[in-house]
């Protein structure tokens, strides 16, 4: 199974990391959309499992969660979809989700089962390093990499402690706020990348608000090791629900534009 380490070592540009909610808008369409993203040049996938109360997400991803749940998505099907994706291509997958779903499944069993399905890491949006003890050991035991978030308001000493706990990459939040497309890249992100580069060698992948090829390019210029694009991509799904068959091609086109922008480095 391809690791983050191999991926970051091979790439000559920042990793392109699209985000999708598994099963959005339904199981089969979701698989087609994600395949198209892979073929268009995604280097890593960041995948969400829909939750009823996503407090870290803005309207676009909230709606995607609702669509996926309405389309019958659940934990068992999410695992199945991940297996199908891995069978299509061995691409690293990070899950981004909320703690309650893991806790109900049984934390150890969840990590073991999803590692077996082909997941490389699980980032829990509502669990900070203060409670990392609850998850770090079982994650390690399951063979998962660890990923935690650092935000623009994280103090430097705390950032160091977080970086030490990340074996996969640091999910670097570009702004203060929830997920969602933004016109402008936050002016907090460049200084944040610089601060982190000075304290750690762990890859720095930037997400939240990253919306355009220009955003991706400036993050690449600022030294990001990966760009995570969520809401802007999920919005393409939302905007084309009346013609689901057209979505994969539209997503592919957008991902190619991003790829081009970050390859210009």
């Amino acid at each position: 199974m391809k690791t983050y380490k191999q991926t970051f070592a091979e790439l000559k540009h920042p990793a392109l990391i699209p985000f999708f909610v598994l099963g959005d808008p339904d199981f089969d369409s979701s698989f087609e959309i994600i395949k198209a993203a892979i073929d268009a040049g995604a280097d890593i996938l960041e995948l969400g499992i829909a939750f009823s109360d996503p407090i870290a997400d803005g309207p676009t991803i909230q709606k995607a969660d609702i669509r996926a749940l309405a389309g019958g998505m659940n934990i068992a099907k999410a695992k199945e979809l991940i297996k199908k994706i891995k069978a299509y291509k061995d691409i690293p997958i990070g899950l981004l989700m909320y703690y309650n779903l893991i806790y109900q499944y049984g934390t150890e069993k969840f990590f073991a089962d999803f590692a077996a399905a082909g997941v490389n890491s699980i980032l829990i949006a509502d669990l900070s390093i203060d409670d990392a003890d609850e998850v770090s050991a079982p994650m390690k035991k399951a063979g998962l990499d660890t990923v935690f978030m650092i935000t623009p308001n994280t103090e430097i000493e705390r950032a160091k402690r977080i970086a030490e706990k990340c074996t996969g990459f640091i999910y670097t939040v570009s702004l203060l706020g929830v997920t969602g497309g933004r016109d402008q890249l936050s002016d907090m992100v460049r200084p944040l990348i610089a601060r982190l580069k000075a304290i750690t060698k762990v890859p720095i992948c930037v997400g939240f608000g990253v919306s355009t090829p220009q955003h991706a390019k400036s993050l690449a210029d600022a030294g990001a090791d990966g760009v995570i694009i969520g809401s802007r991509i999920v919005k393409i799904i939302e905007d084309n629900l009346n013609d689901k068959k057209s979505i994969p091609a539209k997503i592919a086109e957008f991902i190619k534009q991003i790829k081009q922008a970050i390859q210009l480095n």
Partner: protein
């Protein structure tokens, strides 16, 4: 954080990283000021002169005759704003002032916390935003109007079930974008640490007064103390003074809605499973995957799928007993109690009265029960009327 905010396995602070600095700042400020003589004196003045503390402990003569034992009512309904919520809002508002914050946000269900926050926002001259589920905006329209009159902006939240849980989601989301200058005035003894501890502290005046008043009036402690449980703030406020009095039975009353068996209720201590939502580990209404379930209760203030972590511990270690009563019993007691005593109880508080009524003629005549009447029922008159017509 100075402490991990645990009550046994419950509690904690399960929040996105971006909120950690704000919670740390709040915890630090709370421990810095809560015993500070100036802070204590300021809060006492506000409690006495603004809110109307202490509230009386009233012997409900006719209701006692009806049920066959002695019922004392802790009159939190007489407070400014009409509910216990003002205790917490004055405490947190003063804390916000000491922290030099100029903007406050809050979630609200029944609108009582939103109203108390709006009053305190006006009192301290702070810009106030209230998040409220769109269904609650409709069923508690009088409170919405009052909040706006106090100068608050009321934001109607349409996500999810359009009730309290969704209002909290949206308030948390707003807070993540505005953590630097905004104080989140959380309304109940739930949510991430340090809120359960802070809210309990500011509501503990209820129990402290009630215990003292009871000793003064009848020369002994009550046999039973009962309160309704939504997030758990009025209940923990009155329980806290009696927790160490081993012979005092504590009874928390949850909303059984249309009946526990129907699933249409909001009684996680009776029928939930341990899980994590809104920053805390607690009993929670959820499906087998861990998706949060819709809740249902006639009282907007109790319509929440979780419950404060300290109540979860009190349940597990059996120090308190948690029961549930259905909407029909609540509506019935609203009518009975009002006709008996000339006091309109909030539908929330009516839950604890309904439990007391269910004990009619079952307890010895000299049994002393204290009911925390957390709020007045003026806001509920329309709902009661509508449910009668059906």
């Amino acid at each position: 954080m100075k402490n991990n905010g645990r009550f046994g396995q419950f509690g904690g602070f399960y929040v996105p990283e971006v909120l950690i600095p704000a919670l740390e700042e709040m915890e630090a400020a709370f421990y810095k000021f809560y015993k500070d003589p100036q802070f204590v004196a300021d809060l006492d003045t506000l409690y006495n002169d603004y809110a109307g503390r202490p509230t009386p402990l009233y012997y409900a003569t006719r209701f006692s005759e009806l049920v066959g034992f002695k019922v004392y009512i802790k009159r939190e309904d007489l407070l400014h704003g009409g509910a216990h919520k003002v205790n917490n809002c004055l405490g947190q508002g003063l804390l916000a002032k000491y922290m030099k914050k100029t903007k406050i946000i809050a979630e609200t269900g029944a609108g009582q916390h939103g109203l108390a926050t709006s009053m305190v926002g006006a009192l301290f001259g702070m810009q106030t935003k209230i998040f409220m589920g769109s269904i609650d905006v409709e069923r508690q329209s009088v409170n919405v109007h009052k909040m706006r009159l106090c100068g608050a902006e009321v934001i109607s939240v349409t996500g999810g079930t359009c009730t309290l849980k969704d209002a909290i989601n949206e308030a948390l989301r707003y807070w993540t974008s505005n953590v630097a200058d905004t104080f989140y005035m959380f309304g109940t003894a739930c949510g991430p640490h340090p809120y359960p501890t802070i809210v309990k502290h500011f509501q503990s005046c209820i129990g402290t007064e009630a215990r003292k008043q009871c000793l003064e009036k009848i020369g002994k402690l009550p046999d039973i103390v009962t309160a309704c449980v939504g997030g758990g703030s009025n209940a923990i406020g009155i329980f806290s003074a009696f927790v160490n009095d081993k012979n005092v039975k504590l009874v928390g009353v949850e909303p059984a809605g249309k009946g526990i068996a129907t699933g249409k209720h909001a009684a996680p201590l009776n029928a939930g499973k341990v899980g994590i939502l809104h920053g805390t580990k607690m009993y929670l209404m959820q499906d087998s995957d861990g998706q949060i379930l819709d809740t249902e209760s006639i009282s907007a203030g109790l319509d929440y799928p979780g419950v404060g972590p300290e109540h979860c511990l009190l349940r597990d270690n059996k120090r308190a007993e948690y029961v549930a009563v259905e909407d029909d019993a609540v509506l019935e007691i609203f009518d009975i109690f009002t006709k008996c005593e000339g006091i309109l109880p909030a539908l929330e508080s009516s839950h604890s009265l309904a439990w007391v009524y269910s004990q009619k003629n079952k307890l010895p005549a000299d049994t002393v029960v204290i009911v925390n009447l957390s709020g007045r029922g003026d806001k509920d008159v329309d709902i009661v009327e509508r449910n009668k017509i059906k």
